[in-house]
Symmetry: C2
Subunit: 416 residues, 2 copies
């Protein structure tokens, strides 16, 4: 968990404002849920590994007997927890407020989440997720709206050239079926396949054998992984069919093909989608399309998401189609060049010690009323250092103030 | 703790943007600290009653023996907690990052805090505070900058006419000294005096006698409370001196007088300060000026603050002047009229069922690129209800989309 000093905080707020504005322009509506959710809801088995990483809130007013009784079941000590993602709270929100929401609800959530990860470079225990979700639309239009809005956010931040790797969990399941993996071994097989980028085909095949997966299925999978591949940079029907073994149900392929055509029509020219039949994504709750956002300047994903048509039903007792796209805010911010845009038209007033407070504040108020950002500093022995620090903090001009200075005689000089 | 639906969330974000922008214009710099602070820091005795209301985070990986051992000391179960205010984290932040901050540091913090209050109307367990603080300036300029910026925020939100009740903890102490209350009974006496607005002079005097406070001191206090009072609506030297019994040190009076003159010069015309020698404010850490923000439209305070010159020294081992002003965000938002400003230039595209997704998304993208906010809805049997809900959600126009509709032939109609 980190502190943010003024320059970093200004940068973060600037980026958040762009994201919020673009998402809103695409017809998404922002909502907010409390940071704390019920312990039981956070541990209902839908959060996957994140459930284990969740921070729990100690019950208030526990007495000695209550604490002793909880010795063998620490969960009895907690009644609330910090959310570890924005999807579980959204499902709870939608189930609660459905009557007040449009038939197709397009939600924005921009908010921090917490995970008790081991501290390591680039991983934080508190981090901001920027999620958009479409609830109540089972068609590929929902995915297309999410993808177009997310790519537009990258464009608006000056990160043109983003692309999205796409797969479908049902295609993946069907593929494992075609290869001959039995149901019980599939979760483990998916964990191994998910490492394809890191350990390569031979690594995956070796690990599948180590796992003791059905040998004939491993052979089929291995042969398929080693097949000659066409260029991966396309998302037409031909490319999608070529990326999958025979025997994948048509409706899955059609969903993907429709999605590609829709995004292509909206974005014009180059289709920014790449079909990746071995994309897995960790979360157990995905039920259809899954995707990851990439940018040529980095080798990690900037975000991702997928369909989770089953989850809201858990809260509502009625199946509701849902698909979401989450951008990892810190990764995005780290990627952006620093700019000095924050402090255009900002002035440091450097005053002599004997200037009356009333005169000084009247000058400041006059400038603020004219749209200028103002910082007051007392004249220092080392004026050079004072002015350099002011420039580093983003101030663009300064003026010296003596006892005779008025708004009319104030003389602004640029800060180098 | 509450969910915020789209209309409320949009309103909150709009108000936050105004507050942030005005504070920045006045030369304050926004920072951010993590939501979780060390348990020990949150329970170091500086948070007053709020310490008891703090939510604690259960240590991860506690085993049965560890839990049993904590039976008589529940604090051993927790290592972190949710912050209950923004002042304790700011003091920790300043002590950590001082070398990178300007000599006089003007901080903005706009962020949620948590208190395990009993649920009651108008009290929330998660709420947003908007704090500005000036660290490193012992002069009344610091208070003046806070007050001017805070009144400017009210003005910018259309809440002109705000005023600030002001007192000084040192004046209060000196007054109790003059009356003859002994040191041990003063904390209790202050708690009673703090109820003056609610229970009146006779109630305060009765409660002081019940407390068993020094009878002669109660008599002196009673006589003083019942003295004939001048108009409270002024903040000149004469009014301040008239508000205090004889024997208050001159430097305290001068600090207040300087403050009044400075705010008056900056705001012009009416001085928006009111001297209230019986203003107490609960927090034990205040060491000088204290103040509360009022507005004629409500009988509760919208915020307040004061000097806490001792607190940062607790973390830094070196005395640093500090003063802060906190606006209670939810109270402010509740006060503002609703506006439809959020959705100017926003269009609902109502499409026939057979319109291809690609055509629909291309139309949406065209409008978004032209600065229009767009929501897509499928034509419903009850079109009247659909259009009414869209208008209620802030959309200002709609267009019907058939299979032949293009960007050129799209016809926008106003939503009533």
């Amino acid at each position: 968990m980190r502190d943010f000093l003024p320059a970093d905080k200004a940068r973060r707020e600037r980026v958040l404002a762009v994201i919020r504005e673009r998402y809103r322009a695409h017809g998404f509506d922002e909502i907010e849920t409390p940071v704390l959710e019920d312990y039981d809801r956070l541990h209902a088995g839908i959060g996957g590994d994140n459930e284990k990483l969740s921070f729990s809130i100690l019950k208030r007013g526990m007495d000695a007997d209550g604490i002793r009784a909880a010795a063998d079941d620490p969960s009895a000590l907690a009644d609330l927890g910090l959310r570890y993602d924005l999807t579980v709270p959204l499902a709870r929100f939608y189930a609660t407020h459905r009557a007040q929401l449009p038939t197709v609800f397009r939600a924005i959530q921009i908010a921090p989440v917490w995970r008790a990860e081991r501290p390591q470079k680039g991983r934080y225990r508190q981090f901001v997720q920027c999620d958009i979700d479409v609830i109540g639309d089972a068609s590929p239009r929902a995915e297309a709206e999410l993808m177009i809005a997310s790519l537009d956010v990258l464009d608006a931040l000056g990160l043109e050239g983003g692309s999205i790797r796409v797969n479908d969990r049902r295609a993946l399941d069907a593929m494992l079926d075609v290869f001959g993996f039995i149901a019980d071994e599939r979760p483990g097989v998916l964990i191994t396949i998910d490492k394809l980028d890191k350990i390569g085909v031979s690594g995956v095949v070796a690990e599948l054998r180590e796992r003791g997966a059905t040998p004939a299925a491993v052979d089929a999978c291995s042969a398929y992984l080693e097949r000659p591949q066409g260029g991966g940079e396309a998302f037409g029907e031909a490319q999608i069919r070529a990326g999958l073994p025979d025997g994948i149900p048509d409706e899955i392929v059609e969903h993907l093909v429709d999605l590609g055509a829709t995004v292509a029509a909206a974005r014009g020219g180059r289709v920014p989608l790449v079909f990746d039949p071995f994309l897995v994504r960790g979360m157990g709750y995905y039920t259809g399309t899954i995707f990851e956002l990439a940018h040529p300047s980095v080798d990690y994903s900037l975000g991702g998401g997928g369909r989770y048509d089953g989850m809201i039903g858990r809260f509502l007792g009625q199946q509701v189609a849902a698909v979401g796209f989450s951008i990892g805010f810190e990764r995005l911010v780290d990627l952006l060049p620093e700019t000095a845009a924050d402090c255009a038209g900002s002035v440091v007033l450097v005053h002599d010690r004997d200037v009356p407070l009333a005169q000084l504040l009247a000058l400041k108020t006059h400038l603020v009323a004219n749209g200028v950002r103002v910082r007051i500093e007392q004249r220092a022995k080392n004026m050079k250092a004072l002015l350099e620090r002011s420039a580093a903090d983003g101030y663009t001009a300064f003026a010296t103030v003596g006892t005779e200075t008025t708004a009319e005689t104030l003389e602004l000089k640029p800060l180098a």
